[in-house]
Point group: C2
Chain length 440, copies 2
């Protein structure tokens, strides 16, 4: 015999026990069902891509976290998000696709992050994106968060809020303030929640932004109602003419109004001028989503609009908008906070059929065939052993019913059905089995 | 602007256009639904595992094909199958799992194979396995191919056949012939279809197996009916006493009879003494599955029984049995042979809603909300443009209906619905919309 190797997985990877896996899959199923209803097509891109292509937007943080494959004639790596592969796919299949192209992808991505609680190196992203040719209607900017809203509602998450902002508005605002390095300024603003006001002021100061301008920039972070924010913007617009700023306000208003027109309550939307998504390349709407009371864990669903999604891969103009749920992280948070409340049926396995002796197995096979043909998840316990052991098994797999088959049942063409939650036991004629299971 | 990079994927990777992806996902959904009905729990293991662990069964072909990750403190690689991760998982969670542990996993695996038609470097496997503690009933050996049978039936594959054999039988047979290196002999037999009888005889000859014994070994490959094969085995057993051989016959007979007891027709089962699965470590039942007329493409669903699945990771005895469909390859074959016939509904998108002008969008939003709440996959065409362009889009996404909304429709609270297959156009009251869509 070969030596025993300690069975273990790598740190930073999530792997679940069977009942938790059922729960996670249910979460994934809800997300996928909603994506489909909203008319997104599925997409399944390779996990491994050419490295040059993955890093085409420039390296930075990402290139340090990327997983590279060893010793291949072409440099290849694991994807770190689903957006770059989408851009590559759209450019590659431009002539085959119908635009606007709506696609979803729920798949694993890889980032060699520092190992910490709630951060995973392998995790699911659930992305929806809409890619247009030349133009893409602003209504999409409202429908895309509405899709996510429907999902959060089905997940029965009590409080959550979409924080929306607009990059044109921010760029116009920094134009008015005559800030040269807008990108660096937005990246700094993006860190506000993490590093705090003093540190932000310090960095802005180092950028030679004077205190008066710092005050104006920091005024974006003041607490206001949506109405007050829109008023603040209108006033600022009146006093400082800038075309890009005005366009940004106009877009933000439309997105806000149309999100409500789709059916999102006002308390689930927050116009938040402090949202910049400074590390990404968005050019219009930007979004972050927070669970009420869990704001400190960060956004669970983020995204925005790109003027030109695939500019690295094609000369055509392909505007895109997308939102992404960090599904592994969302599950981790909901689980940790005991907020999982979305399963209609606690019992993945509906029935365990227990033949009292081996000669009852043919009868058990007939019964299980019947149940499975009606779509009922069920098993036969084929192994020999004491009844207690068999019922312990039924409990462990969380079966709803234990169905025993003995001499008597075979003779009278019936079944003994025990509801393992209530402890109720009933004798049921074979032809009434499915009706019995459905009504209970 | 940065330079344009040619958008492409690596060779040996399958990536589909949207309508094909819908088809593939439907195939995957059917497989998953059946696995669930049969009571298998989902499992989702990390794609990256410790290399030492993946290669613990010994290297050989596999180690040459493995994808390694660069520059990590622990050597890590991509999984090349789902069986080794299962063994690792079961050993790791022994105390938490209920045995027999039934799990399915439908996931991608990676093998750096030589690039050739129908062979992929990234491909889906759809695996079911049952793992027992100490013992595992022989009935499982019949139910597991029955699960696959139900799947092939739902896929409407016209002819297919499970080829079954037993490793004990083969080992006993080679015992009787006093063959020393049984593994090498089985590996050689496994290559029969590929290299032919002459080459097999040559290798056996080099192993110092004389011509008389070669004749007996090759007699296993003779064409016989199932009844004739069982008779051949019984005769051989009468004339040559060997305990392992007798046990193998007994098991093979039980598996054959119980597969029929579950409901597999005799013409879908072939007792095939030439099936050895010589490259794997099976110890009892072995299976391969062939599509009638496409035998030369090889087995589309293979597996068998291990006396001790996780012997590299635990001292406990954990017998296991499993079958695996090469899903990417199966899809490729069915597509190539024009054999895809499993979709109940050709139209992934049920309706495209076309507002005739922007002011009709709020009405369109009400309608699309209604449809999606009823589970109908639908989209609004938000973009401006000519009607012809909008209808071309509806055709391209294969929408079943185009629903137009103009002045008249808003005024009379109705909808114009065009069936894009039949060309039929109807005016329908808003409250009758869902009924109308369901009845057509």
């Amino acid at each position: 015999m070969s030596k025993i190797i300690q069975a273990s997985i790598l740190p930073g990877f999530m792997e679940l026990l069977p009942n938790d896996q059922v729960e996670f899959d249910h979460l994934k199923m809800i997300v996928e069902e909603e994506f489909k209803k909203f008319g997104y097509f599925p997409l399944d891109t390779p996990l491994i891509e050419k490295r040059e292509l993955l890093l085409s937007k420039g390296g930075g943080e990402t290139s340090k976290q990327i997983y590279n494959i060893e010793n291949k004639s072409t440099d290849q790596s694991l994807r770190f998000d689903l957006t770059v592969p989408l851009a590559r796919y759209v450019a590659m299949n431009e002539n085959e696709l119908a635009f606007p192209f709506k696609r979803y992808q729920i798949a694993k991505v890889y980032r060699g992050e520092r190992n910490q609680r709630g951060r995973f190196r392998e995790f699911y992203q659930a992305d929806i994106d809409i890619v247009g040719r030349d133009k893409l209607s602003i209504y999409n900017d409202a429908e895309i968060p509405y899709t996510m809203y429907k999902i959060f509602k089905r997940l029965k998450i009590k409080g959550f809020s979409f924080h929306i902002n607009n990059r044109k508005l921010l760029n116009g605002f920094l134009n008015i303030l005559k800030i040269d390095d807008k990108e660096e300024c937005l990246r700094t603003m993006d860190k506000m929640a993490k590093i705090g006001e003093d540190k932000v002021r310090e960095i802005l100061g180092n950028m030679k932004i004077n205190e008066e301008k710092q005050d104006i920039i920091l005024s974006l972070f003041e607490e206001r109602t949506n109405e007050e924010t829109l008023e603040f913007l209108d006033n600022f617009n009146k006093n400082n003419k800038d075309e890009v700023f005005a366009e940004g306000i106009q877009e933000l208003k439309l997105v806000y109004l149309n999100m409500k027109a789709f059916g999102i309550e006002d308390e689930c939307i927050k116009i938040d001028l402090g949202i910049t998504r400074g590390l990404d390349y968005y050019t219009g709407s930007v979004y972050e989503t927070f669970i009420t009371g869990l704001e400190e864990v960060g956004s669970v669903c983020s995204g925005g609009r790109y003027e030109n999604l695939a500019s690295n891969f094609t000369k055509k103009t392909l505007p895109g908008i997308g939102l992404s749920i960090g599904l592994t992280r969302l599950y981790f948070i909901l689980k940790e906070q005991d907020m999982i409340d979305f399963q209609e049926d606690e019992n993945y396995i509906k029935a365990l059929i227990i033949p009292m002796s081996e000669d009852k197995i043919p009868y058990a096979i007939d019964i299980v065939n019947l149940m499975r043909d009606k779509g009922v998840n069920s098993q036969i316990y084929f192994e020999s052993g004491k009844m207690k052991k068999k019922f312990t098994y039924a409990d462990k797999i969380k079966a709803k019913y234990a169905i025993t088959i003995g001499e008597e049942e075979v003779k009278t063409n019936s079944l003994s059905i025990k509801n393992l939650t209530t402890g109720n036991q009933e004798k049921v004629a074979r032809e009434d089995l499915i009706i019995h299971l459905n009504k209970n």
